[in-house]
């Protein structure tokens, strides 16, 4: 139980996110209307994706320093969960965009860049599945993963900000403060980010333990 306190925290934060996210007071803005509440569900998908892919990146570096099966498995499973978060982020973004920007896909710089970023990570999965030999697979996909993360950062955080974008905080000062977020939004937004990220980490945790068990089974059989 002591080791699992963060799982309980994740549940509490997510319950808080849903309840407060739906019922709390939000700024009354034209066009956005109540969809501003998507901030608690769409944006944390991307924050969660970046943080979970950061875990994957870290374990890939760790694998190259110390090649254990565990490091490889955690890197791979975190990448998979990060991709899941990214896909959910892009779908929820399209749903939101349809009713605020008018189109599911307006070829907004950030939309395009995040789609490219996801394609880079899809290629990671394809690359991984194309090796039979475990060590070869682990080493080459670790190297690819490091480069994939290095490519993702400018795609999401730098390039969209060099041009005009429909996303807030872009086409000008890129700081987080340019989000027109007031304190009531932040009160729910930060717990939401933490809650969704912890949920992702939890899934990574269960999946990698399962994968390690599977590896162990193959070794003994």
């Amino acid at each position: 139980m002591k080791k699992n306190w963060w799982k309980i925290l994740a549940v509490l934060l997510l319950v808080f996110t849903v309840v407060a996210g739906m019922l709390s007071e939000v700024p009354r803005l034209a066009i956005l209307n109540e969809t501003i509440r998507n901030l608690y569900f769409h944006v944390p998908m991307w924050f969660g994706m970046i943080l979970i892919l950061l875990i994957s990146f870290a374990y890939s570096i760790k694998y190259l320093k110390k090649p254990t099966i565990k490091n490889d498995i955690i890197a791979a499973e975190a990448a998979k969960v990060g991709i899941l978060f990214g896909v959910l982020g892009i779908i929820t973004g399209m749903e939101w965009a349809r009713f605020t920007w008018g189109e599911y896909w307006s070829s907004d710089p950030k939309q395009n860049a995040s789609a490219i970023g996801l394609l880079i990570y899809f290629a990671y999965l394809v690359l991984r599945s194309s090796f039979n030999e475990q060590q070869q697979r682990a080493r080459i996909s670790a190297v690819y993963n490091i480069f994939a993360f290095a490519a993702l950062i400018p795609l999401l955080f730098i390039l969209p900000r060099m041009t005009d974008s429909l996303h807030p905080g872009n086409g000008g000062n890129p700081g987080f403060n340019t989000y027109d977020m007031d304190s009531s939004l932040r009160m729910v937004f930060y717990p939401a980010v933490l809650g969704w990220t912890l949920l992702g980490v939890w899934i990574v945790n269960v999946k990698s333990r399962l994968e390690l068990l599977r590896q162990r089974l193959y070794e003994t059989v």
């Binding site: 997510l14 849903v18 739906m22 019922l23 565990k70 068990l213 162990r216």
Partner: protein, 90 residues
């Protein structure tokens, strides 16, 4: 085979909900509006554009997903305990 079974159940559910909706629509059409006196009712879930219903549904989905994840976590934990593996517990 399993996929077919799931698909069949899903189609059945879809048809029944469509049927129920039709019946309800007919029922609504036949009732006439009568001015009712003020009677105390459980109105909370009908207040504020029924947003509380959405909260209840979202919570149900979330709790369902989390319970599923917890059960998976437990199953993996039991397997780990069975193996008593130094590789896993390293």
């Amino acid at each position: 085979m399993k996929l077919f079974r799931i698909l069949a159940v899903w189609c059945f559910m879809l048809c029944t909900t469509a049927g129920i909706q039709q019946v309800q629509a007919q029922a609504e059409a036949t009732t006439t509006v009568v001015a009712e006196p003020e009677v105390e009712m459980a109105d909370v879930l009908r207040q504020d554009g029924k947003i509380y219903v959405v909260v209840a549904v979202l919570l149900t989905v979330l709790v369902g997903m989390i319970l599923y994840l917890i059960s998976l976590d437990r199953k993996v934990g039991k397997l780990e305990a069975q193996l008593k593996d130094d590789l896993v517990n390293r």
